[in-house]
């Protein structure tokens, strides 16, 4: 029987010679065994290829998303050009499309949310990473903060609409601006709560990675607990904390439902932080199914494209920083 098994590179004739009593039955048995191992090898190769295809599929998926957005926003890019981005008026009825109010609304609400949330997420990170890494109270805090990220955004929006909007309205009457309640400020408050977990959990793991020799050296020089945190821990983890804040920003920029429900939804330029407005995500959510003209629809998709590109850049930079910090 001269069967060569390709993969091992060993042919039957290389093996020490054995005398096999070759009855037809024994031959059939040996043949079926060989056939089976060939089948196994074939399945193995198919399986390996399937895995590779699945890996490739992710790349295709992201490229497909990018390509779809570019192709579908082509009519608006051609018709409106670059002035789309700094046009101040958004009036689909008159066929005037300027995205500046939404860009401003997005930036204002996201950065305001970041500013509000940073002290809290930093405090959680320091508390869990440095002061109390173990124990049931820190465990409780850690799990609760993680649950903040689990609550669906539509529930944040509903709660904001029912509870936060009246409170902000009272506050606005007190400080003497037009009391609408819905507006950029309200959506920043909701966003601030929603993005705390992202910066906090990354910050915590970064702070825990600070080598204890560094801290002990500072203690040895007579530094107090706070001085160690301020002079050693925070400078050492600076880029990690920055990455966490960047990821929070990415979340805040793309957040749709909670913002849509409390921002007031107007396409006018926001004049102050209490004014109602619209973010890129909320205007897409509101007007996408109502867009009746091709340019209108495609102008909305161009907003989606901008949003996609911005979040991709933010996430890739954040990821690169994290990789660099954790590999050092």
């Amino acid at each position: 029987m001269e069967t060569s098994v390709e993969n091992s590179g060993v042919t039957r004739s290389d093996l020490p010679l054995r005398v096999i009593t070759s009855t037809p039955g024994a031959i059939a048995k040996a043949q079926s065994r060989v056939r089976r191992s060939f089948r196994q090898i074939r399945t193995e190769n198919v399986f390996r290829q399937t895995l590779t295809i699945m890996g490739l599929l992710m790349v295709i998926l992201v490229l497909g998303i990018l390509l779809t957005l570019i192709v579908q926003s082509m009519p608006s890019i051609k018709a409106l050009g670059a002035k789309y981005l700094w046009g101040k008026t958004w009036d689909p009825v008159q066929d005037v499309y300027g995205a500046l109010p939404f860009l401003l609304g997005t930036l204002a609400s996201s950065f305001l949310a970041l500013i509000i949330s940073i002290p809290f997420s930093l405090a959680v990170a320091i508390f869990l990473g440095e002061y109390f890494p173990n124990g049931w109270i820190p465990d409780f805090l850690k799990n609760t903060v993680e649950l903040i990220a689990a609550v669906p955004s539509v529930i944040y929006g509903f709660w904001g609409l029912a509870v936060l909007v009246p409170i902000v309205r009272t506050f606005e009457t007190h400080i003497g601006v037009s009391a609408i309640g819905q507006g950029i400020f309200t959506s920043s408050l909701i966003l601030a709560v929603m993005v705390i977990p992202y910066a906090a959990s990354l910050g915590r793991s970064m702070i825990q990675m600070v080598p204890s020799q560094l801290k002990e050296a500072a203690y040895g020089l007579g530094a107090t607990r706070w001085e160690v945190i301020r002079r050693v821990v925070l400078p050492y983890t600076r880029s990690g904390l920055f990455a966490g804040i960047l990821l929070s920003l990415g979340r805040a920029l793309g957040e749709t439902m909670a913002v849509t429900m409390v921002i007031g939804n107007t396409s006018l330029m926001p004049t102050n932080i209490f004014a109602p407005g619209n973010t890129m995500a909320s205007v897409i959510a509101n007007e996408f199914t109502e867009a009746d003209k091709p340019v209108y629809l495609s102008a909305l998709i161009e907003l989606g494209l901008v949003l996609f590109l911005v979040t991709v850049v933010i996430n890739v930079i954040g990821k690169k920083i994290i990789d660099r910090v954790t590999n050092d």
């Binding site: 390996r48 890996g55 805090l141 609760t144 996430n315």
Partner: protein, 295 residues
């Protein structure tokens, strides 16, 4: 270092410790507020009638959310069906190929996918599945028809959102397994696919399962991608080719409506959605603790 008396510096240190503690625990307050408020508003609305009826038109009290419950379960079931096999396989690919150009790009794309705003996924799913027109030939008749809003398009949009979480957790879990496990199986002459299915996946099942549950918890509350895909439906529907209601869509539509009856439905639905998501998250935590997986 600052100049000052030792007492002042120690006092300052304690002061900041207190400040950090206060700020850290202040984060819990809004969550407790929200939980408390949703439970208080929702608990009185939920009863048997609420769970088995479709919403009534405006002006008629009562009505329920059976259409949204059925829709949510069906949409999530089909997204899980799509995303879990693809996600686990891609995760295995990434853990088996630590280096390599394709693995690098794949990992980058998974990271990007994780950060893509859900509304953008909704737009893309709309153009991939809802918008395309197809032609039906019936004898000599030719009908041009757009696919239209459908539950399955919503499932696909949500599946895209599930993928990065499933892939990441699978990869991270399998990376931690000792390579001796795989080598022992290979040494016995076990083919590659059987090593994966009979050794690697069973050992890492805890981590993979918790990733799957986390991803389901995440998409359960997603509204934005469903706005342009599943679209919502005031009636009970089981057909995945037709528009379908889901819990977050119902909450969004009824919460922003001016009618109290509808708002009450939305409060009840919020409580159910919140319980569902929190239960999934907490049981994931328990699984993670039991199997000692690191995520």
């Amino acid at each position: 270092m600052e100049i000052g008396s030792v007492k002042y510096r120690i006092g300052k240190s304690y002061g900041f410790k207190a400040l950090v503690t206060v700020f850290a625990f202040a984060c819990v307050v809004p969550l407790l507020f929200i939980l408390f408020f949703i439970v208080r508003q929702g608990i009185t609305k939920i009863n048997w009638h609420f769970l088995v009826n479709v919403p009534k038109p405006v002006g008629e009290p009562g009505g329920g959310i059976i259409n949204a419950l059925v829709g949510s379960i069906e949409i999530i079931f089909f997204s899980a069906l799509i995303a879990i096999p693809i996600g686990i396989m891609a995760g295995i690919y990434l853990s088996e190929n630590r280096r390599g150009r394709l693995a690098y790009w794949c990992r980058l794309c998974v990271d990007i996918l994780q950060g893509v705003p859900s509304i953008v996924i909704g737009i893309v799913a709309y153009f991939w599945i809802v918008k395309p027109e197809f032609t039906i030939h019936i004898g000599f008749l030719r009908l041009h028809k757009s696919a239209g809003f459908s539950a399955i398009s919503g499932s696909i949009a949500l599946a895209i959102m599930m993928l990065p979480i499933v892939i990441r957790s699978t990869e991270e879990t399998l990376k931690l397994l000792p390579s001796s496990l795989q080598e022992a199986a290979f040494a016995l002459g076990v083919p590659y696919h059987r090593v994966i299915f009979k050794v690697i996946i069973p050992v890492g099942i805890g981590g993979i399962l918790s990733g799957v549950m986390l991803s389901i918890a995440r998409i359960t509350g997603e509204t934005a991608p469903l706005l342009f895909t599943a679209f919502g439906n005031p009636y009970l529907s089981y057909n995945i080719g037709k528009p379908m209601q889901s819990l977050p869509l119902l909450i969004f539509n009824y919460a922003t409506s001016p009618y109290d009856d509808w708002k009450n439905l939305a409060w009840g639905a919020s409580l159910i959605l919140l319980m569902w998501v929190l239960l999934l998250n907490i049981s994931t935590k328990l699984i993670t603790r039991k199997w000692k997986v690191q995520l």
